[in-house]
């Protein structure tokens, strides 16, 4: 009986020793911290109320006059952590040109300028981008105007990410300059000479709603 007790005590004492290697194996291995996974690009549907396209062109070699396109639509794709460049697919309704003068709007819609009867929209589709800094890119894409498509570089800045009751909103500001003669819009450059400038600066302000992730 005494022998059994000693054996039992010995066996019991051996349990911690026997468990020691397993205890060592069960201890979690400490690994170096992994980098946080990049956010997936989010689809941003452009809000037509808070997006617009402005253009500026010189008149008679004197002042610059500005106009806007009141209706544009499309999407942008961008990672909210700025890990990917924005990708744009934007369509502008040329008929909605607005200079503050109905007569001038009519002239611009006519065949000598935008020819909205044959070319009702202007589009831009991204192809690639180069990062210049935090939320600042040069986006290269195809601009289609008056049926002519040419590759252009757009200076694009993500102006901010905000919150709205419906979800997140993202803003972009894109600036580029084109020669309208490259798109067949030549009236007023040489004939009559200098009536309307060839160089057109465009400033596009975009704001869109981030699509909610599917659960």
């Amino acid at each position: 009986m005494k022998t059994c007790s000693i054996v039992a005590a010995s066996l019991l004492a051996m349990i911690p020793l026997a468990a020691a290697p397993f205890a060592q194996d069960a201890k979690p291995e400490v690994k170096p911290a992994a980098p946080a996974a990049a956010a997936a690009p989010a689809t941003i549907t452009l809000d037509p109320v808070h997006s617009l396209a402005l253009f500026r062109v010189q008149h008679l070699g004197a002042g610059f006059f500005w106009g806007r396109f009141n209706e544009l639509a499309g999407t942008a794709t961008w990672s909210l952590d700025d890990s990917t460049a924005p990708v744009f697919d934007v369509t502008v309704d040329v008929k909605k040109v607005d200079t503050g003068s109905e007569k001038l709007d009519g002239n611009l819609q006519g065949p000598n300028f935008f020819n909205q009867a044959e070319f009702p929209t202007m589009t831009f589709k991204s192809k690639s981008a180069k990062k210049l800094g935090d939320r600042h890119y040069t986006v290269t894409g195809d601009l289609m105007l008056r049926g002519v498509t040419k590759s252009i570089d757009v200076d694009c800045t993500v102006t901010g990410v905000g919150k709205a009751p419906t979800g997140q909103k993202v803003g972009f500001e894109c600036i580029f300059t084109i020669n309208r003669a490259d798109y067949g819009m030549k009236w007023g450059i040489d004939a009559p000479k200098g009536a309307v400038g060839n160089e057109v600066k465009m400033t596009i302000a975009l704001e869109g709603d981030v699509a909610k992730a599917k659960s």
Binding site: E102, K103, D105, G106, N107, Q109, G110, P111, N112, N115, Q116, A117, E118, R146, G147, V148, G184, K186, W187, A191, P192, K193, G194, A195
Partner: protein
């Protein structure tokens, strides 16, 4: 201002001068030049050519020759798409070549075919125009309407205006020019201006020259000239209607090509006139009256739109809390 004057000279005055010069040279011919056998056919063909040439020159000066050429061939390095309204330039070029051809065919055809040939060609060409020359928004209905209008306009120039076709063309294309300018279509306005000025120049040549030189062949009634003017006026009106951005009623565009029929308005006075010159004056006055009424209606319709376009006093008061 110098640049604008230079532009107007290039697209309106110079083409008109060229047309007038051609008409002057033709009028001074003593004998018909091959392939024409008669002075009448030669005058008909070459004056029609001259007037259409003014249109083509104005078009090319404003938009470049490629705007016409790319409709017939591929131009290397030219990626500009064809615009439908550029067909006007191509059509004027075709009519310019067709006018002397028609005069030549009429001259060689048996006399008993002469009138039928003219009428048959007019009808077929009018409907050919309707199918080949289409602008945005054209439908089968508009194509048929264009064909009928081309026939009516050709008849108006040939039969209505008769021996005052050039004066009628001067007024008609001036009205079309004004309508195009009001519609915000500057290129169409200068093109019509060139044709109008060319018609004025040609009418002046044939008005003055017979008093200075004997044996000057008068401008023919109808034929290639009437067809050329009728077709071009119809195409211009249809184009202006299709591209109008200021809401000019379509019926105004459709009435403009048949303004020469206004020569019939004062027909009674023309018939009772003591001299042929006075009779012509009454006919031109009829066209001018018809044109004046159309322009007044157009101006009133444009003025009505402007006065209703701006904010009303009530809206301003609401905006500024007045």
């Amino acid at each position: 201002m110098t640049d604008v004057l230079e532009y107007i000279f290039g697209v309106v005055i110079f083409p008109a001068l060229v047309a007038s010069l051609i008409a002057l040279v033709v009028a001074l011919f003593a004998v018909p030049v091959w392939p024409f056998r008669s002075r009448a056919s030669e005058t008909e063909g070459l004056v029609g050519f001259a007037l259409m040439l003014a249109c083509v020159m104005s078009f090319a000066q404003d938009l470049g020759w490629n705007a016409i050429l790319r409709q017939f061939m591929t131009i290397q390095g030219d990626d500009t798409p064809i615009e439908k309204w550029h067909r006007l330039g191509a059509m004027a070029a075709i009519i310019a070549l067709g006018a002397p051809l028609l005069a030549f065919v009429r001259e060689r055809a048996p006399k008993r075919w002469g009138r039928e040939l003219s009428i048959g060609v007019s009808l077929k060409t009018a409907f050919l125009l309707a199918t080949l020359v289409s602008f945005p928004g054209s439908s089968l209905g508009w194509a048929i309407a264009q064909g009928c209008l081309a026939v009516a306009a050709t008849a108006a120039f040939s039969l209505g205006a008769r021996d005052v076709s050039m004066w009628s063309a001067w007024i008609t294309f001036a009205v079309l020019s004004a309508m195009a300018m009001l519609g915000g279509f500057a290129s169409l306005a200068v093109l019509c201006g060139a044709v109008s000025a060319g018609a004025f120049g040609i009418a002046t040549v044939y008005g003055i020259l017979p008093r200075l030189k004997s044996g000057v062949e008068p401008l023919p009634v109808g034929g290639a000239i009437g067809l050329a003017l009728g077709l071009l006026a119809t195409a211009v009106a249809h184009c202006g209607r299709a591209y109008d951005t200021t809401g000019t009623p379509p019926w105004m565009w459709m009435v403009a090509p048949i303004l020469p029929a206004g020569a019939l308005l004062l027909g009674r006075w023309a018939a009772k006139a003591k001299t042929p010159a006075r009779a012509k004056l009454w006919r031109v006055a009829g066209v001018a009256f018809f044109a004046g009424v159309l322009l007044v209606v157009l101006a009133l319709s444009q003025g009505g739109k402007e006065s209703s376009g701006g904010p009303s006093d009530d809206e301003l008061k609401q905006m500024y809390g007045g």
